[in-house]
Symmetry: C2
Subunit: 479 residues, 2 copies
């Protein structure tokens, strides 16, 4: 029999060392594990089930929006990668190169896709002929490789899973609209399913995607006040269609270069869920994406009546919810409580001999710790209600943290003082000059998160140089 | 306006050149395309949607059987691949090697997974401690790379998509049972969804998977009488658990090496669907996995009444079926008929001015060409019925071809004569000696497909050497 206290001790205190707390959760909650390949993780079934729930929701939304899935090669020839100048500069330093097939040295080397703009564009140049073929709104769910120097499970790994949508359009406007439509899908996913409020806006030139005209982003704030870019959507204009020759015969019977977009979210969202919601008892999962929404723990495994009622309850609830029943005979109930709290299951349902007599079970909320006695006959209805409440409360709690950690500043000194006092979003006016952006980065460790769509005017002057300000910018230290 | 006749001419005649007919279908029906990376294909949305339907069905079956999905690294260190002797000999000659990350030459090289027994086994050696942890029944949907010399879209490509299930068990019996259970899932998928009858059996030693104790297979026969291995399930015994150190504390508190399995199906099944069902009008898709089950073609796009009724019909039918409506104004109805036949859509629904007056539409079956007038009010009910009939008929037609192309032989001469006359399955008795198997391969071009589970005794003697026969074997030339 294990000791509860020792078990909880295994997680680092969240206030002592947030980074260590994070990796403890990843490993102890069984989300992922390290492997023999440095910087590559194994996503374990419990972590992967979260990804499957994210995929399912997003893929349905995509399909309703007319997106079609396909699959393109894992390998990209070196000369293709080199075609768009900014793009190759952005990615070439961090790709993995394949040089041999079997015993043979290859004539030209291939990189493993770090992203597939070049492969999509090459194929689109074959597939697009007339305006009648447009738009093409395609997406793939796949893995990509970027040879990062420092890695951390889910947040920054040499391999990660993602979806990459790539589209071609007849007009710039249609492409831009699509870019924002997809950003809206991401916002819905992250707010409604992951219970994390997002900030929507445009990236500064210094922070935009290599090769994009505009990059739009959904930004999130973690428990410790660090920012995390949760999804991006890029408008390319004709930046790829020109070097790759994606021309179409337009309605005036003239050749025109097409307008493109790309957009993606990745398994890093699982990292966001951990860091936005977790606490000292472990992971805390929003019911909407929790692989297990409630776990039934029969108290006293030797009591036949208890086991029968627990099984009945499981049979009833598992028709509508994702339910687990813990019948392990080598752990105490106390150990099990801690174990499932650590794994972030939203509700634990206790059922013991006294409950049977009272015709009830006890639902314990992971987020508040509150215990609610529920009549067995009302369990399905009440479970739904409590799950909904938890989902809402988690979003509100997370939003409260974001608001608490957001402040406006009007000087660089104030910026430094405030971000050091309480890490979070700093709102400050900016002239638009990359030098000022660079100075903020160097002096504060914060980068521009975005120029939010909802612009405010908190002062007339750039927080760095004092020249007339062009934009309100949210700044933050990032993951 | 395009010319119907020219359009159909674009496909090679199936009797003239089956191989060319096949690649014509792949390209012209829009299933896949060639890419700049030799041997790698782009699976286009129409082809990928078939894969998604296969995935959906199989994944649900897996989950009901207790399978959990996860995701393991794309790259495998060279020393891991080398740990199981037969396995490395089987795969090392055809893997792609990654030697550089960014600008840096890597200290040790990695291969891109050709299959993941070695990666799973390494992790299982960490994850498995006690019999209480078992079984572990995990699966991943991913892409793999094998540097094949000759390639053909879907059938043999350097990259393909698949699922690979890998399991660990407490007893040999449990592992063997799991192997056969998964083979049953494959049989159901292929027979009920892909409408192709399968032959189930065990592979001979010469044909089994590198590292397996036993390989079980589901074999299919294509339209031209060539055989195609559609899925395999392997029992490993302790072949991997010993070199990889997957030990567990058993119920007697002793350490024991675990028992393992692996099993997979791939995008090659799409090739099977093409070759089992297609004809001179193009692809023919079984309704159960067709991305589009019926296409509505309004005759006379300028007739307002027709367009309104067609739209209404689309709205009604698309609630329950996968429906498309073809409103392209730059093609004739005749061209459209050919186009959708080529794409293998099971039913085309014509609706024109005369139909409106009669309150009907006309459903045309892709497989028989039969036209059936249906009252508009009965369309949903009738569509379901007709789709079911097509699904059944396609299976029966395919089964008939298999039976027609299966014969028993009692001598090698008879073997050669019969397989040259009518390609298909040859049933012949075998002594079990690999030399005799080799001789058949050399003299007939046929390989042993499997030792079918349903054994018969068609003679006492091996068809090659005349010594006492041990097994009935199905032989065939393969894809």
């Amino acid at each position: 029999m294990n000791d509860n206290k020792n078990y909880v001790k295994e997680i680092t205190n969240i206030e002592d060392d947030f980074a260590k707390w994070y990796t403890d959760i990843v490993i102890k909650a069984g989300l992922a594990d390290y492997t023999d390949v440095k910087g590559f993780m194994a996503i374990k079934p419990y972590g992967f089930a979260i990804w499957e729930n994210i995929q399912k929701y997003t893929d349905e939304k995509f399909k309703k929006a007319g997106v079609k899935n396909l699959y393109l090669p894992l390998l990209i020839p070196e000369d293709l990668l080199n075609k768009e100048k900014e793009h190759v500069q952005g990615f070439a330093p961090e790709v993995a190169w394949v040089t041999h097939g079997g015993d043979q040295k290859l004539e030209k080397r291939f990189c493993i896709r770090p992203t597939s703009e070049t492969m999509f564009s090459t194929l689109y140049s074959k597939w697009v002929e007339s305006w009648r073929d447009l738009p093409m709104v395609f997406n793939q769910w796949c893995s990509v490789i970027r040879w990062e120097k420092e890695t951390k499970p889910f947040l920054r790994t040499r391999e990660f899973l993602w979806q990459e949508g790539h589209t071609v359009h007849e007009t710039a406007q249609e492409a831009k609209d699509l870019t924002l439509k997809m950003l809206e899908v991401y916002k819905d996913l992250i707010e409604k399913k992951l219970a994390i409020p997002v900030l929507q806006g445009e990236k500064s030139i210094g922070e935009k995607f290599a090769g994009a005209e505009n990059t739009y982003t959904v930004e999130t704030l973690m428990h410790d006040g660090r920012a995390l870019q949760a999804g991006t959507s890029h408008y390319f204009g004709q930046n790829f269609s020109k070097p790759f020759g994606i021309k179409f015969r337009n309605r005036d019977e003239k050749d025109e270069y097409a307008y493109q977009t790309s957009w993606g979210i990745s398994t890093r969202l699982i990292g966001a869920v951990i860091m936005a919601h977790g606490d000292n008892r472990g992971l805390k999962l929003p019911p909407e994406i929790a692989p297990i929404q409630a776990v039934i723990i029969p108290i006293s495994l030797s009591d036949k009546m208890v086991m029968e009622e627990a099984q009945k309850l499981f049979d009833t609830l598992s028709k509508k919810f994702r339910i687990e029943i813990d019948q392990r005979d080598n752990y105490t109930p106390g150990y099990k409580f801690n174990d499932w709290e650590m794994k972030g299951v939203p509700i634990r349902i206790e059922i013991g001999p006294k409950d049977i007599i009272a015709g009830q079970c006890v639902m314990v909320e992971r987020d508040t710790g509150d215990k609610i006695a529920i009549k067995l006959s009302e369990a399905p209805l009440k479970l739904k209600e409590i799950l909904n409440n938890i989902q809402k409360r988690m979003f509100e709690d997370c939003k409260k943290n974001m608001i608490d950690r957001t402040c406006s500043v009007s000087s660089l000194d104030e910026f430094i003082e405030k971000i050091n006092k309480k890490q979070g979003y700093i709102k400050a006016m900016w002239c638009g000059d990359e030098k000022c952006e660079e100075e903020i980065k160097n002096k504060t460790g914060a980068r521009s998160r975005c120029l939010p769509f909802k612009q405010e005017k908190i002062s007339d002057k750039c927080v760095v140089c004092g020249r007339p300000a062009k934009h309100l910018v949210f700044w933050g230290r990032q993951y």
